[in-house]
């Protein structure tokens, strides 16, 4: 991991115009990604983490969604403003994405070879034979046994874990600068999860790929990521290097999350902790800190205005009125 910033998200806003109102799924998200860095985005369902990712590559279904503001700077290009041709040359090529459910994310009617070759041929200009050879190499790297034979099979002939390996191989086949992984292990058995995560760590380190990993599991990010962003109700509430964040969580939500993880070293007899309340409905949310109904230390200002982001040192930032002067 170097200090060179390859992706910078500035105040990204993605809104969905629905029958019930405007859903502000992502409402002012900013973070940056450095070369080779593994960044984790953690949050509950509905916090906006998947939408953030889809927004990076401008893959929001439109209608009803729209990127309503902000910039996504990749090199000197603003991905939000690119036309579709330019976007396509980046997708799968410089920035690659893999999804949660490998069962439904692979086309059941086409062979794996077809699905892998098309990306390589498209972005790297190789002919079919060379592309197939490269695909077989990638499968081997991803730990698929007898890849020369299995590449001609169909997705339903692979197990869940194997399919995700195929997805990873496919995602990395054009050697992208960034791999975005949207809950890559949530649909897998726990034992397989560990394997897949190890594989991702290994391959991306080898290829020098930066990773944005989205998950709802703190355990996953702790093992994999250099930096963590915590999202709540469409915004990043806390951001920082992994060790720092776990050691010194500043935002009450982060603290709550960490406390909620059951620990082996506590005596059995204690009640398990959970943050009281429910995440808010993000339609027509008023200007306030969205966490305040569930926060033990909510103050008056929390109900009236959203707290700005405050840098508390060591690359660690938090958006909470506890750390900022209310003006």
């Amino acid at each position: 991991m170097t200090d060179e910033v390859i992706l910078e998200i500035k105040d990204l806003k993605t809104y969905f115009h629905t029958d019930e109102g405007i859903v502000k799924a992502v409402d002012g998200v900013s973070f940056s990604l450095r070369k080779g860095e593994t960044l984790g985005i953690v949050g509950e369902s509905g916090s906006g983490k998947s939408v953030t990712n889809l927004s990076i590559m401008n893959m929001i279904p439109n209608p009803p969604g729209r990127i309503a503001g902000g910039e996504v700077l990749f090199g000197d290009l603003d991905l939000v403003k690119l036309d579709i041709e330019q976007l396509r040359s980046i997708r799968g090529n410089k920035i690659s994405m893999i999804f949660q459910d490998p069962m439904t994310s692979l086309n059941p009617y086409l062979r794996i070879s077809t699905q892998m070759i098309e990306t390589i041929v498209l972005h790297q200009g190789l002919d079919k034979k060379a592309a197939k050879a490269k695909a077989i190499d990638m499968l081997k790297l991803a730990g698929i046994p007898a890849p020369e034979k299995r590449i001609d099979q169909y997705p339903h002939q692979f197990s869940g874990g194997m399919r995700q390996r195929v997805m990873i191989a496919m995602g990395l086949s054009c050697n992208p600068e960034i791999l975005i992984a949207d809950e890559p292990t949530s649909a897998l058995d726990v034992t397989i999860q560990a394997q897949i995560l190890d594989l991702m760590k290994d391959l991306t380190a080898r290829l020098g790929t930066a990773v944005i990993l989205i998950t709802h599991s703190l355990g996953v990010v702790a093992g994999m990521c250099d930096t963590i962003c915590v999202m709540y109700a469409g915004r990043i509430v806390e951001r920082g290097p992994t060790a720092e964040l776990f050691a010194q969580p500043k935002h009450p939500y982060t603290q709550g999350l960490i406390k909620s993880v059951p620990r082996l070293d506590r005596t059995s007899g204690d009640r398990l902790f959970s943050i009281r309340g429910q995440p808010p409905n993000v339609i027509d949310l008023p200007d306030c800190c969205p966490f305040y109904p569930r926060c033990d230390r909510a103050m008056d200002v929390c109900k009236r205005k959203y707290p700005p982001s405050k840098d508390v040192g060591n690359g660690h930032a938090v958006s909470c009125w506890l750390y900022t002067e209310a003006k």
Binding site: H17, T18, D19, D284
Partner: protein, 357 residues
């Protein structure tokens, strides 16, 4: 935390918390679909006219006025229109004879005397004052009345047939799906074999053989006999996928027996599919019945259905187009509306079709 039982409840953010039941949601979505609403109104109007037909101020549908056959639609009294028609025909004949067609001279003479007789009769016949808004058919029967009464029969066939098919199919499919195992296998093999019968042929054979007496009942039976298969399959599929859901297991843990589970827990969840099937199968029934009627195997005179009216109308299509167009358009509009309504219902119940605006 706010509760969700009161309509105007707000939570701590001052956001409205609305209860969302499947039905309320579906109805709201249906209401936004303009075409479906228009379709719904059309269907309601048709049903109302059909139900109220006996008390509506229209002529008797089987009453024949031989003098006033094939009167075109008009707001003027039948006597005038008849005289106009005859005069036009006479003029045509005169023109033909004048241009050299001497073989038509006899026809011309006859037509002239017919016209005179007609004029006299029109003075004395009270029926000459009738206004046939949609014209008359080849036996002088009012097209409006016949179309309305034909609609009653057609809609009745559609409704009764659908309900029969639905009852049989739902019960069969629900039991097969729920019980599973060998019974299910057997039942589905039965359905498969029935499905491969060329049913229209069998219906035609049945209709042509078990004729006339109680024709209407036979039609229901014949068409319903095969249509229940589709709904049975669909219901079975739904039941199988719901059967293993956790809320069913919970019900079983509470001691609910299979009958109770089927009727109280499974069926309400399948209701959406059933409703859609019903709205789409009524037009299909009406089509099948009109098909049979066209072949002469359906409803017999003096009763009429849209099918028989259209089939009568085809005969004189070139000269008396209204005899075809009136029932054809009436029937088509109804089927159109039912199909649109069915589509709208399908979209309303489909959670994925939200937010398409």
């Amino acid at each position: 935390m706010a509760t969700t039982t009161i309509n105007k409840a707000v939570n701590e953010f001052n956001q409205q918390v609305k209860p969302v039941s499947l039905w309320a949601d579906a109805w709201r979505r249906l209401a936004k679909n303009r075409m479906a609403l228009i379709a719904l109104w059309i269907v309601v109007i048709y049903a109302a006219v059909g139900l109220l037909a006996p008390i509506l101020p229209i002529f008797d549908y089987s009453h024949q006025e031989i003098m006033f056959q094939n009167i075109p639609p008009s707001l003027r009294p039948a006597g005038e229109v008849a005289v106009d028609q005859a005069t036009k025909k006479l003029d045509q004949l005169r023109a033909l004879v004048a241009s050299g067609r001497n073989d038509l001279q006899d026809d011309l003479t006859k037509a002239t005397s017919d016209l005179e007789a007609l004029k006299v009769m029109v003075q004395s016949d009270p029926a000459a004052n009738n206004v046939y808004i949609l014209g008359t058919d080849y036996l002088g029967r009012d097209m409006l009345a016949r179309t309305i009464y034909g609609g009653r029969i057609s809609m009745l066939v559609g409704l009764v047939g659908t309900i029969t098919a639905m009852l049989i199919g739902v019960i069969f499919g629900a039991i097969a799906g729920y019980v599973g195992g060998r019974a299910d296998n057997l039942m589905m093999r039965f359905v498969d074999i029935m499905y491969s019968l060329p049913y229209m042929l069998i219906v035609i054979i049945m209709m042509s053989m078990f004729n006339r007496s109680g024709a209407i009942v036979i039609i229901f039976v014949a068409i319903a006999l095969v249509s229940w298969l589709t709904i049975a399959r669909v219901v079975r599929g739904q039941v199988i996928s719901l059967k293993n859901a956790e809320f069913i297991e919970a019900a079983r843990c509470m001691g609910a027996g299979p009958i109770r589970i089927i009727f109280k827990y499974l069926l309400p969840n399948i209701l959406g599919v059933i409703i859609i099937f019903t709205t789409l199968s009524i037009p299909s029934f009406i089509m099948s019945e009109s098909f049979l009627s066209y072949l002469g195997l359906g409803i017999s005179a003096p009763l009429a259905s849209w099918g028989t009216l259209v089939s009568d109308g085809v005969q004189g299509m070139e000269l008396y187009p209204w005899r075809l167009l009136v029932p054809a358009i009436t029937m088509t509009v109804f089927l159109f509306a039912m199909n649109f309504l069915g589509d709208g219902l399908r979209d309303a119940f489909d959670p994925q079709s939200k937010n398409r605006a």
